[in-house]
């Protein structure tokens, strides 16, 4: 697969029509694949394997506007939704990107392997659905589907919604009900839920990784960085304000969040931030009918769209929110 992609890219980059390729390179640690801009010479460094979980679409906001030439992007099926959403919001000019849809059968979360008790990992090889893991303490085995990234369990399907060409095969890896965790939270009393989120959000170190990786958080200047907004220093004032940072962020991306799961994937503290967004997505679907942000370019999301059939505000009462 990696070879096939590199060979195809060599062809495309040969005549200088494209400014480069956004893809993945080897990161600092063995299983880290980091986003990188390649030119024809550097293609040897390109990696594409089961560890390329990161979503590259957001990098195109900067890269595509920097050059007059077109740029090539490698996007997995789920990354396409973010790409489309950014095009809808005029943050990426679709005409300046050549999208190669790359096949994906789910990406591996090394943390999950470690959490399964496998320590001292030195190498991972794949054998169908089985992962053979070499460790300092001998070889171990684990089922591939047990260690997929959280986002792969909410897989939106194997179709690339924006690709100019597709390389490789994809498989859907969705594990059934993606709202189960949301419903578990909903079933709690308000006090329990508040405690749950206080517990989770108090771990936040305000590293901003969630915001910086989020394709919906593409603002040129975030309100939390803007000295004129009046909230610049607030979000770090105390742990309560830190909680508000995440809640406000969830509202800022409401209706536009494609549920790509990057926020939770990059969180060094392991906060399940995607559940905040997924709760809002569930609400939007319930109130306005099923909606998937980034399904296509030019969509109008339900929160900025108004029809006479829309729910009246009194829906809050009927759903028990007025009590």
């Amino acid at each position: 697969m990696q070879e096939m992609i590199i060979n195809r890219l060599r062809e495309l980059l040969a005549d200088g029509e494209y400014a480069g390729v956004i893809g993945w390179a080897q990161g600092e640690t063995p299983f880290d694949r980091t986003p990188n801009l390649f030119n024809a010479e550097g293609l040897d460094q390109l990696r594409y394997d089961s560890f390329c979980g990161s979503n590259l679409s957001k990098y195109l906001v900067q890269q595509a506007s920097k050059t007059e030439k077109k740029i090539i992007a490698l996007l997995k099926p789920c990354d396409c939704y973010s790409f489309n959403q950014l095009c809808t919001e005029h943050r990426i000019d679709r005409n300046k990107v050549y999208v190669i849809g790359v096949g994906c059968k789910g990406k591996i979360d090394v943390e999950k392997i470690r959490k399964a008790g496998i320590k001292g990992i030195t190498g991972i090889t794949e054998d169908g659905d089985l992962l053979k893991i070499e460790t300092m303490y001998g070889e171990k085995e684990i089922s591939r589907k047990d260690v997929l990234l959280e986002k792969c369990l909410a897989c939106k399907g194997k179709e690339h919604k924006c690709a100019d060409e597709v390389l490789g095969e994809s498989e859907e890896t969705c594990s059934g009900d993606k709202y189960a965790a949301v419903r578990r939270l909903e079933a709690m009393t308000a006090e329990e839920r508040f405690e749950f989120w206080r517990g989770e959000l108090s771990k936040c170190i305000r590293c901003n990784a969630c915001r910086n990786v989020c394709p919906a958080c593409s603002c040129i200047k975030c309100v939390f960085d803007n000295p004129n907004s009046g909230v610049q220093n607030k979000a770090a004032a105390d742990d309560f304000e830190e909680s508000l940072f995440h809640i406000i962020r969830a509202y800022h991306v409401a209706g536009r969040c494609t549920d790509c799961g990057e926020c939770s994937r990059v969180c060094p503290q392991g906060i399940p931030l995607h559940l905040l967004n997924r709760r809002i997505i569930q609400d939007v679907n319930e109130l306005y009918g099923d909606y998937q942000a980034g399904e296509s370019i030019g969509q109008r999301h339900p929160l900025t769209d108004f029809t006479l059939e829309d729910e009246e505000p009194s829906v809050i009462d009927t759903r028990g929110g007025g009590k």
């Binding site: 506007s65 004129n228 109008r300 900025t304 769209d305």
Partner: protein
Amino acid sequence: MQKIGVFVCWCGSNIAATVDVKAVAQALKNEAGVVFSTDYQYMCSENGQAMIRQAIKEHQLTGIVVCSCSPRMHEATFRKTAVSAGLNPYMVEIANIREQCSWIHKDIAEGTEKAIVLARAAVAKLHKNAPLTAGTSPVTKRALVIGGGIAGIQTALDVADAGFEVDIVEKSPTIGGRMAQLDKTFPTLDCSACILTPKMVEAAQHEKINIISYAELESLSGFVGNFTATIRKKARFIDEDKCSGCGVCTEKCPSRKGLDEFNMKLNKRGAVYIPFAQAIPNVAVIDAEQCLHFRTGKCGLCQKNCSAGAIDFEQKDQLIERKYGAIVVATGFKPIDASAFNEYAYNDSPDVVTSLEFERIMNAAGPTKGQLIRPSDLKHPHEIVVIQCVGSRCTEDKEKGKPYCSKICCMYTAKHAMLVREKYPDVKVHVFYIDARTPGKNFDEFYRRAVEQYDVDYIKGMVGKVAVEGDKLHVQGSDLLNGEQVHINADMVVLATAIEPDPTARSLGTMLTASMDTNDFFTEAHPKLRPVESPPAGIFLSGVAQGPKDIPETVAQAGAAAAKVIGLLCKNELTCNACVAQTNEAICNGCSQCEKVCPYGAITYEDKEIRSPEFRGIRRIATVNEAICQGCGACTVTCPSGAMDLKGFTNSQIMSEVDAICR
């Protein structure tokens, strides 16, 4: 740094009884930037205003905070005061310590504390106020009246008489509305058609009035003085310009299955029909659901027989786009569906009728040509029972009835009883009632006449059940005054059904962003002082759309709405709101979300060169048309980066207020 003056009003005892106004004035002296603080009995009085003017000059104030009533009351007053002392009007902030404070608190300590907090918030905001200048927008000198009943007709006539163009949009094929269906009108018993049809004709002949019948408002954009309406004129399959209203088509039509809406579906009509003899426009309409041509592709008898060549089976819905300065809602009412009241056997017997059905039966142009006969066997009834408050004042079951009094039923019931007794002295009329509500000029006299002169049997109490027994209707009710059960074997039962807003009201209200109450009646801007205006500027209310009314009240309100419309249309331009949105170009992402939520279409995008620390180059930026922006703020809350801000209500001003409150 601002130099701020604080003026605390007592509002007589309205504020001073629950708020220690002196303590408020004293506390505010310690706020940063406050150089003068005082209290006075009536700040809005000439003396109070003089005090403000003097303080502005004496202390060289740059802004003032008035702690008083709601800004809806006196903000304009104090802005003018500030202007006369040389300040910009937008350097005035009102702390509402009456509606939001003294009126809702009983404890003076609590009230005072809250008043201080509200005043502090106003001071905090004022620190960030900047002088603003308002623009102007032109006024389109044409009004749109939605609904062609007596309310809409009267408003249209009054506006047109003042020299302005008026379009009436009526959803049915003719204007006239409910009043056209009435036989006689209380309390004078004059014929409804005789007094309505001259008005209809006057409207039709008026050179300033344009009647768009069989049409509905499809969408509306714009704002006061500058609305753009799209009106869907439904295909009636008749060329209105060619049709002479001769009625030959209606006679030739072989289909006889359509139910006559004008006669409350008590008789059948052809698929091509003219609703009633005095219909305006006097043009036929084809009911495509019943028409054999549309159902089978054959027939076409009407087309063959129309000497004017007016039948056009190919006609399509037509969209008309027009600009208006003002819009009047006159959508009226309909009686509620009586089928929910099965205890009165409405679904079981055709001889149980609603009052409006009874009205048609009594009318000379009705299904029985005005003869009082039972729908079931066409026999003359001898005993009639009227049940009042069917669905009105019904607080227990909201699904079935309405919590409000429909206001007209007591009077029309007395009218029906009197008409029957006058024409058929042999018929006994019993009326079951909760109360006889007859406020209104000559109303109680009218009701007394029914009781005393016409010997109508009024029974205070409600009916428990109506049962069909053979060809009789067994009515079982209670007589509360005599404390006994009453059993009457009636030939006919009339249900004085409640009235409700026309079913189109809710969606229309949403389209106009007009507020409505839980019963779907349009809410007025102020229940006492602005009874014919809807809260959004430029939308006016006429007739039952606003609440149950009889004809005299409807006509009076229609005239009042017209006066408001005329007052608006005779202006050449309106002063715009100075508190409009503006873009911070350095941080606008150009994501288009604000454009999508803007209800006025005030936001467009331009590619602009941006030089900011974060970005250099050409970028797509939102721009606000200040003449169109109404300052609703929808864009500011949608913008994720905070690039959209509302002048006079900036995000940082609001944050300062919140901070001052939470301090």
